[in-house]
Symmetry: C2
Amino acid sequence: MSVIIAVDAMGADAGPQVAVLGALQALATTKIDKIVLVGRESEITPILSSNPYDTTRIEVVNATEVIDTEESPVAAIKAKKDSSIVVGLNLVKNGKAHAFVSAGSTGALLTGATTIVGRIKGIKRPALGVLLPNTTSGYTFLIDAGANVDVKPEYLLQFAQMGSVYMEHIMGIKSPKVGLVNIGVEKEKGNALTKAAYELLDASNVNFAGNLEARELPSGACDVAVCDAFVGNIILKYAEGLAKGIFGMIKQQLMAKFSTKLGALLAKPAFGKIRKSFDYAEVGGAAFIGLNGLVVKAHGSSNAKAIMNSIIQCEKFISADVVGKIKEVIDLKGDDTNGI
Amino acid sequence: MSVIIAVDAMGADAGPQVAVLGALQALATTKIDKIVLVGRESEITPILSSNPYDTTRIEVVNATEVIDTEESPVAAIKAKKDSSIVVGLNLVKNGKAHAFVSAGSTGALLTGATTIVGRIKGIKRPALGVLLPNTTSGYTFLIDAGANVDVKPEYLLQFAQMGSVYMEHIMGIKSPKVGLVNIGVEKEKGNALTKAAYELLDASNVNFAGNLEARELPSGACDVAVCDAFVGNIILKYAEGLAKGIFGMIKQQLMAKFSTKLGALLAKPAFGKIRKSFDYAEVGGAAFIGLNGLVVKAHGSSNAKAIMNSIIQCEKFISADVVGKIKEVIDLKGDDTNGI
């Protein structure tokens, strides 16, 4: 099948340059048929003109408005019909693109994705999944990392099912191990939500490995870590802050004395490798899944490499027909399609 | 006032040696009037006999049973009346000790503390507070770190009030800054719980600094970080796992080549300092506050130093009359004393 990916040229903090160059780099390294750059043509065209590219694989769709991160998501999606986010999401809705990548407002993107692109029939809540680097097996897929802060046990089951499809078909892990993020390993541990979710997961079609203590997350004990978006986002942001804090302390301590300074100089290549494994640019954004299509939220501070990796993630998602695979595993019993 | 602290001699994974030696070390470095060692006399006495100590400051109270971490907390507290935990908590209840330190079953200790020692009038739920090391100001008091997984907004307000008293009177921080652990800084961010708690905190007598993103926790942006025990425990355990993971990766990378190995050798003193700031033995356990007295949960894997630091924490708590101070700041309006 042909693969067409729409990219929000306006979303990144660093301006359109980042998305345009990321798109060109993605075209150079993949077989993606076409990338549609969405945003202000007057800003995109000059960047394109100064870089060599295959004109048959790049298209620009003009969108004159931009949604700021400060705006109310619901109001902005309604009011700014010609924003890069609304125009890009409509390309997915209308079958003009298979996926949309944006580094813009998370709230507006998620709200717009659900209302414009729409959910897969039977999916109660689409969820945001992020590949967290771990110290052994590579990555753990944390789902939900940012979309649904107040959830029901049955949503967590669907997150587990979607996460399993993702890890199997995108990351090539056969029968991915699913852990329920919890504060103890025993079945009866946790809050009302996790206790109920445990029962559902245990009786489900996923490879459920039981409760997963946050302590075990970095070691790669599970392939899929399931939680609500409040807990998921705490984990994601805390990892960022703690890694930064630890590396900052190391640097400060190493620079305190000549002998440790010399040691640091010699040890530098080792630190480079570790920092790389905590670099979000390497991973390629958060996948909003459960939609009739794919929407990827890239970090606001993305560079061209991060956008490129986000686009590459989309290509794998589309080629593997993850949407179709999700439809196969989702239990439609008792579905009301209203997501209640 | 005289200070008497009861210590569970049976709780630590490493056996009674740890608690007994920790108690003797605490006596040597503080003016604590007396430490009461609670547990099997037949196991405690031989350890005491082989160490010099002031017999007027050590007392042994025999308790023949031990509660295992696998037992149901409620059932164990009911059934094992002669366990070190039940006997120790009764010493606090009956005014024979001001505080009780245990490295035993967390569930049994918290359940027993609430039912035996009892809550301060007006306190809806006692909570577990932990000093998390940060990279700037020293420590952030995380409350609730393990007691109440399903909470109401008004509990969070009381956690903030108790945490503020702790940081002011134990850590000497004037008007401690309170942050509500959340997934965004804006007032309207978060789940139903945090949105409601924000309003209460904003209108309260604490120095409320607004929402605190988990990313900012390690930097010491706030003195008190308020959350439910599910989120608090996730943070606590994830910090443990992630720090271990990062240090493990650093070690692995440093040992990969001769040049980085040499660098590591030179840099070693710097790493020692950082590891020390992540060492739970330095902090001294988690304080269960909101009770008519103090109960401190020490880590199961505590060494003598960790027990010593837990005891020292108790001494400060009692000398500063934290219980009295909490009574002063708690809003008794609408109190039902049933904690509903």
